[in-house]
Symmetry: C2
């Protein structure tokens, strides 16, 4: 039985080639703009110049230095700058981290005298936000068309989500011309990130949501075909356009409409990133095969559907099909130059297990994943399988 | 090469069982509401009472009698009522015709002293509109989550589209509990209407838009499976939920993102409805097979893709696969009790051909469909094939 749900997404996607040059049509007239970006790659690849050329027509201040896994302390400097300049629009140019950071800034600027971290730590309702527009430079997280952000706090060691309808970007420009300057590693990470976003909403248990399932399979099939193509040939514009649309549709609310979701791979992966600074997508590629193999019985029906429809596996028992599908998925990640084993990273397994279990326990988490099928003790088994 | 596009859809879908009872959470506080509906079926099936029970908490006026293929003259009575009562919200309860009519009313009320028909006939920009919420009683047209409406004018004989971002409903309640009171004929019509909405955006020519194609195929596959199921058993809630979500996703902007579209089946079908009052969906079921058979070479690549992916046809030449897919589609329509032949209706073929050709000529239309592959003379061949 499909659950009741709401589907709401007011972000305007502006998609295609050389759409950055149309930015002036989407910026509010006479806005005072806070222009935020990351650590300078947009200066090297020419996107910065393309944006500045248009921003000439507006009053704006610039804030650079939002890091991967954006940090509260850094973002608060942008909040200060925005407040001092009384900005009334934010333009974020970057990947998921820059956009996530900009969402926090957008909520924090009008938050008043209290500590804006409480928006995150105490899950306060976002009552007001500064409107945000984005130019996406890396297809991966889907943040360009959703209401969520993940923010880290150096002082407390927390990495937490901020979610509010007030955080949907007003517009997001998806200009496929940005892809050609991306390093292969980033393309691979983006494809895997989007892929796992889909499986977290799809490989759970069946409830008869046929359209949501087929949409999920549509994205997976397209990422497998065109993720590889784009990785091999960064100039392939159709592959680029398809990967970009896939990454956005993977996490904009459609796939999760009325269905159970998992997110355990992300929860464990986040801890690997926190401990060892392993790229987000790479942490997911390590956890996914191990976790699916451990929970193969609990997830069997959907793993078989995934095997048959996505990997076109027709032979073998259900368990065999599921195992083969997980193997093929691993091979897909590897073909993008992404390792699926912890041993490729220089880590102490026992310390890692102990640290992650303690982290979950300190947060009071007993069971997670759909139906709570993952226990704290499973973390040990998953990391052993992933070693 | 995928075309540049914008994707924007701010309508909030409120989906599931007994969602009508949550209407109070979505109506603006203290709004003065114009409550519009059709020809009274909602009184017979209990939806009217469920709505009225909630509207008690608001000031409202009621307007009934919006007909299938909503008529300007009728709608203007609602506009007058809305203006007299200074309404600031419209609640439409019905199928596509009621929602289309409500969209026109929403644009016409604040239009000023001039004749509101000009919004339609002269394609004037909608500058202001009264916010609209809907409760969908029949999955079919997709109007509940898009910006278009089709309005007829008795005096001039025109049936024209009104399109504006100001016409997106603020919310649409898709309550699957409404399905069980629908006549089989309406279910069948809705399934076929949604099906042809998809093919008009999909069976054209390939441009490499893999995700849009797969999303289209996802909807078609689900409509074939669950459209039939729902037709056979109106109590099947999962089938109902899937058909409802399919019909909405079929025409909310996602499928047409960056791809060529056809719409020639609708253009000819509309004229059959205008001449003989044949149900909209039934007119499409007559034209589709004839038109695809006539233009089989022009549409061959997509027809073969449709054959292989949707109908799982693996044998035969490309032309044979395409013919078989069209045949299977016809059989699907027939299995829903819908005839695909003009001879099942009492019409004069020569008069019909002459009338439709004259209508197109009077509008200055030479060629239509993707790439203008349909000529005025093709209308004759199509109607002969459909006889």
């Amino acid at each position: 039985m499909i659950n009741n749900y709401e589907l709401y997404n007011p972000t305007r996607l502006i998609f295609g080639e050389n759409r950055i040059e149309e930015l002036n049509q989407y910026l509010p007239e006479k806005a005072k703009i806070l222009f935020v970006y990351g650590q300078g790659s947009i200066k090297r690849n020419g996107i910065y110049d393309r944006v500045i050329d248009i921003l000439k027509g507006w009053e704006y201040v610039e804030f650079s230095g939002i890091e991967p896994n954006p940090v509260y302390e850094t973002l608060m400097k942008a909040v200060k700058l925005g407040r001092e300049n009384k900005v009334d629009f934010i333009l974020a140019v970057g990947g998921g981290s820059v956009i996530d950071g900009a969402k926090f800034i957008s909520a924090a600027i009008p938050f008043g005298d209290d500590e804006p971290w409480k928006l995150v730590s105490e899950h306060l309702e976002v009552i007001e936000s500064i409107p945000l527009g984005t130019i996406l430079t890396l297809p991966a997280t889907g943040s360009e068309m959703n209401k969520g952000a993940v923010i880290s706090n150096k002082a407390t060691g927390d990495k937490l989500a901020l979610i509010s309808e007030k955080l949907f970007p007003v517009f997001s420009i998806l200009d496929i011309s940005v892809l050609k300057s991306l390093p292969k590693r980033q393309i691979a990470n983006g494809v895997v990130d989007a892929f796992v976003h889909v499986t977290e909403q799809y490989i759970t248990y069946p409830i008869g949501a046929k359209l949501q399932d087929r949409f999920a399979e549509s994205i997976l099939l397209t990422l497998i075909e065109d993720g590889q193509k784009l990785y091999d040939d960064i100039e392939d514009k159709d592959a680029g356009a398809n990967v970009m649309f896939c990454a956005t549709m993977a996490l904009n609310g459609v796939l999760s409409s009325g269905v159970p979701t998992d997110w355990s791979i992300h929860m464990i992966g986040h801890e690997l990133t926190a401990l060892y600074n392993i790229d987000h997508a790479r942490s997911l590629a390590i956890i996914l095969p191990a976790l699916y193999n451990l929970k193969i019985n609990e997830k069997l029906e959907k793993l078989v559907q995934f095997a048959e429809r996505v990997w076109k596996i027709t032979k073998g028992s259900d368990i065999e099909k599921a195992h083969t599908a997980i193997k093929y998925t691993e091979n897909f990640f590897k073909s993008l130059g992404i390792s699926t084993k912890l041993s490729k990273y220089n880590i102490d397994l026992d310390f890692t297990i102990k640290s992650i279990k303690e982290k979950f326990e300190s947060r009071g988490i007993d069971n997670f994943g759909e139906n709570g099928i993952i226990s704290i003790d499973d973390i040990e088994a998953i990391l052993h399988k992933a070693k």
